[in-house]
Amino acid sequence: MFNSFIEFALPIFKTISILILIVAYLVWLERKVAAKMQSRVGPYSVGYPHGWLQPLADALKLMTKDDSIPKNSDSLLFNLGPVWIMVVSLASFALLPFYFNNPMLNVDLSFMLFIAISSLIIIGIFISGWSSNNKYALISVLRMTAQIISYEIPLVISLLIPCILIGSLSFGEIIRYQEDTWIIFYPLLGQLSFIIFFISALAEGNRIPFDLSEAESELISGYTTEYSGIKFALFYLAEYVHLFGICVLGSIIFFGGSNGPFFSSNILIVIKALLFFTLILFIRWSFFRIRIDQLLKFNWVKLIPLSFAGLLLACLLKYYMDFSSL
């Protein structure tokens, strides 16, 4: 009984702790890269080589901070919001084969289940912004909802194009297919779907040029305005977990997952995801923010027809490959 419990609990515990560690250092990495691009030093004084203890110090500081609940807010939903976001963004990692050998949950429809779980995050964001009864938070959360649900359509379609070419919805199959060539090197369709995926991943992860919900000069800090202390830390952590999940997804579907040029190992998934994250950081510090009407019009008028054209092209190509000999 006890042994089987350990067998169950150990992979869960390992994956969660490794994930939290990686994500804590993603924040540190972001601050370091930002400092480098602006000719600053960045976090330096906590921990000897280059302030490597900074994430720990931040977490400890936020834990001792006062945890205030606004007077007129809906306190049940206000407390539920951060917990919901954290649980949902971590739960999508149960399906990704990112930890040493296998995913925690090995099912045939893992890709579909991943999409289903990770799109639940918007409910948590909405209840936390709405329940804090703050006008800035409400505006932020309305923008965020419109943005995330709109960009979900091109994101899913751009990921379905490789799935059509492969003919499967499980991450294991997708990785096995890319042993010879990665999807990104597939002529035309690979690049087209990667560009659509990259743009909508920036919007889903709420990054510049699509970070309208936290536009610092307009809305104080978006839907997290009323949150303080450990609940703010939960939001901060969950945002990076979600973004890292999207990076891992990109590295699995487009960059061959655990297949490498010299050796094959699951550590390559994490390395590729980190490189992808660095690319997002470079974009963050070189672009500017766009307006909400531009954001939605770009999605509905340009990105969605383009992704449907890609879907049609993939379908015709697969038809040609299957039936050209007949």
């Binding site: 006062d66 703050n134 379609i157 003919g167």
Partner: protein, 120 residues
């Protein structure tokens, strides 16, 4: 099929994580000592906040949500079609292309009606 009950255990572990973090924070604050709390008013750049913020919201957000539901439901139909591709027939491709054409006619209708534009 055997994996799905396992997901409940994963879920329990994940729920316990943020709750444990909040409890740890409460314990630390109990040890450090409670501050006097005057920060429970709504943040509004120094002014006291006027009225609730639970009011009517712009119609454009509703329109976007309606168009989203239309496209999202049709997206769900693509998943079972992909699973069918392991044993393809010419008919499965033709039916899918017909489906895409009908979807695109719907998009043209929404575009002509101006539902994809932002109302100021």
């Amino acid at each position: 099929m055997a994996e799905y009950p396992f997901f409940i255990i994963v879920f329990m572990a994940l729920i316990s994580l943020p709750i444990l973090m909040i409890l740890t924070s409460k314990i630390i604050k109990f040890i450090v000592g409670k501050r006097k709390n005057v920060s429970d008013t709504i943040y509004e750049c120094g002014e006291p906040s006027i009225e609730n913020s639970w009011k009517r919201i712009p119609i454009s957000y509703f329109k976007i949500a309606l168009v989203f539901i239309l496209f999202d439901i049709e997206l769900v139909f693509i998943f079972p079609w992909i699973l069918n591709l392991s044993d393809p027939t010419p008919g499965s491709y033709f039916s899918f292309i017909t489906f895409l054409i009908i979807l695109f006619i719907g998009w043209i209708y929404a575009y002509k009606k101006g539902y994809l534009e932002w109302e100021m």
